[in-house]
């Protein structure tokens, strides 16, 4: 009894410290990194973080435009041209259109699940921006489990897809949800295992530390050959499957399932789904870049590097530009793949994930382990 009373006392005592709560908020919110304890720096850092978030979102607007333009060029079209210069504002127009559309929900849909799946996906996507490194010491948060954290927040996708598909009360949605969940689960595991090789080398989950190791000792894509190269291919492949991009967009195969689990979503909900898809793709591309292609490293280290290049490597702006270039090359690559390949069949694809990619990833991990063992020895 006495402890209960003291608990209440403590709560009441805590209310008196209201002036302090803002600083504590900044200090304790997971996504904001604070170096030092003083308020000014805290405010600067949080502003920087906010700027980074804005930057990412802007990029998210830019990426679809690039994709559409590239795709159109590959198909012999011109792409968006009317809104803004080169159709740059096309996506903003699209968002505005989606926002002003009528918000419909099927009468037989399960309201709770229908909304929850959208919230879960959106929240997890936004959360995953946190630990992404943009340059040395430039990240939303320098958390020690960064990579694991991204996987953790992404792991909500399968249930969210399944829930959304089920809650729509439509057979297309349900089947699409099933397919999405199955595909996500099937490709999540080889993806994680292929990442383990990188972690063995970096000895950290911290994305900054991973990039720093590549900056010092060389990019992972050519280290522990061919273990990490295999891991890179597997990771690239699995991340394409994870993001359900064409040609792996089996859950939403238009010819079969209309729009898959998103069939019944419209209006702003559909806008969020688009945002989530693109940001998911974007984060995965950044992960590929960070894990295997040196992240913000300008060029891989080699002997006899000229001085100006070494200075450039240390320059944060150069690093920032470098990673952006890599990311947009990745976007270009993804678009290229999208326009080039036809869609897979669901059973073959799942089977391929479990029976080929998983053993291959284990093999790559074994090779990396052997290298690491030799290195330690």
């Amino acid at each position: 009894m006495s402890s209960l009373l003291s608990l209440i006392d403590k709560i009441v005592e805590g209310i008196r410290d209201i002036p302090q709560w803002l600083l504590t908020l900044l200090n304790r919110i997971p996504y904001v990194e604070l170096q030092g304890k003083n308020a000014e720096r805290a405010i600067v850092v949080s502003l920087l973080s906010a700027a980074l978030g804005t930057y990412v979102l802007l990029n998210l607007l830019l990426a679809p435009w690039i994709e559409r333009k590239v795709m159109a060029r590959m198909m012999g079209r011109r792409g968006p041209v009317y809104v803004g210069k080169f159709g740059l504002l096309q996506l903003i127009a699209d968002i505005a259109k989606l926002l002003f559309k009528e918000d419909t929900m099927p009468m037989t849909a399960d309201r709770f699940g229908f909304n929850l799946s959208i919230y879960l996906m959106g929240a997890s996507t936004i959360m995953s921006f946190g630990p992404l490194p943009w340059a040395r010491d430039l990240a939303g948060t320098n958390m020690s489990i960064g990579l694991l954290y991204i996987f953790a927040v992404f792991s909500v996708f399968p249930p969210a897809m399944l829930l959304g598909g089920w809650a729509s009360n439509s057979k297309y949605s349900l089947i699409g949800g099933f397919r999405a969940a199955a595909q996500l689960v099937a490709y999540e595991i080889p993806m994680m295992i292929s990442v383990l090789g990188v972690i063995v080398y970096a000895q950290s989950f911290n994305l900054q530390a991973i990039v720093e190791d590549q900056y010092q000792n060389g990019w992972y894509i050519y280290r522990a050959f061919p273990g990490l190269l295999m891991a890179f291919v597997i990771f690239l492949f699995a991340s394409l499957a994870e993001t359900e991009r064409i040609p792996f967009d089996i859950p939403e195969a238009e010819a079969e399932l209309v729009m898959g689990p998103r069939t019944e979503f419209s209006g702003w909900r559909y806008g969020i789904i688009l945002l989530v898809e693109y940001s998911h793709m974007f984060v995965n591309i950044i992960l590929v870049v960070v894990l295997f292609l040196g992240g913000w490293d300008v060029i891989f280290p080699f002997n006899g590097m000229p001085g100006w290049l070494a200075d450039l490597r240390d320059d944060r702006l150069a690093q920032f530009i470098a990673i952006n270039i890599k990311i947009y090359l990745g976007v270009f690559f993804v678009t290229w793949v999208r326009t080039t390949f036809p869609r897979f069949r669901i059973d073959q694809f799942i089977e391929w994930g479990w029976k080929t990619l998983l053993p291959l990833s284990l093999l790559s991990l074994a090779i990396v382990g052997a290298y690491a063992g030799l290195y330690v020895a």
Binding site: S3, L7, K10, T24, R28
Partner: protein, 104 residues
């Protein structure tokens, strides 16, 4: 300490009670399993909390929590497999109707 230990204790005991309540009231086997997962999580919270509040800095409780999560995953997999099999054999998984063990 910023957050007192009592919060976690109350959270875990409440979660545990809710889990037990679920186990004793629910008739759908999947829901019973859900309630069991709640109980396991309640225990896990205690493990992690006591490890975090350990003045010596021993984090064995976290490791225990990790192991418990892994074992719980296996338990859930087997339990659900059993339920699928039960459903296949009896056409339902309502434990109120599955009393083959009872004396007739």
């Amino acid at each position: 300490m910023v957050v007192p230990l009592e919060y976690f204790l109350i959270l875990s005991s409440a979660l545990f009670s809710i889990g037990v309540f679920g186990v004793i009231t629910q008739r759908n086997a999947v829901r019973i399993l859900i309630a069991v997962e709640l109980i396991i999580n309640a225990a896990n919270i205690n493990f992690v909390a006591f490890a975090s509040y350990n003045p010596v800095g021993d984090i064995s409780g976290w490791i225990f929590a990790l192991f418990i999560i892994a074992v719980a995953a296996g338990e859930a997999a087997i339990g659900l497999a059993i339920f699928i099999n039960v459903f296949r054999n009896y056409g339902e998984i309502d434990v109120g109707h599955l009393f083959t063990l009872r004396e007739v």
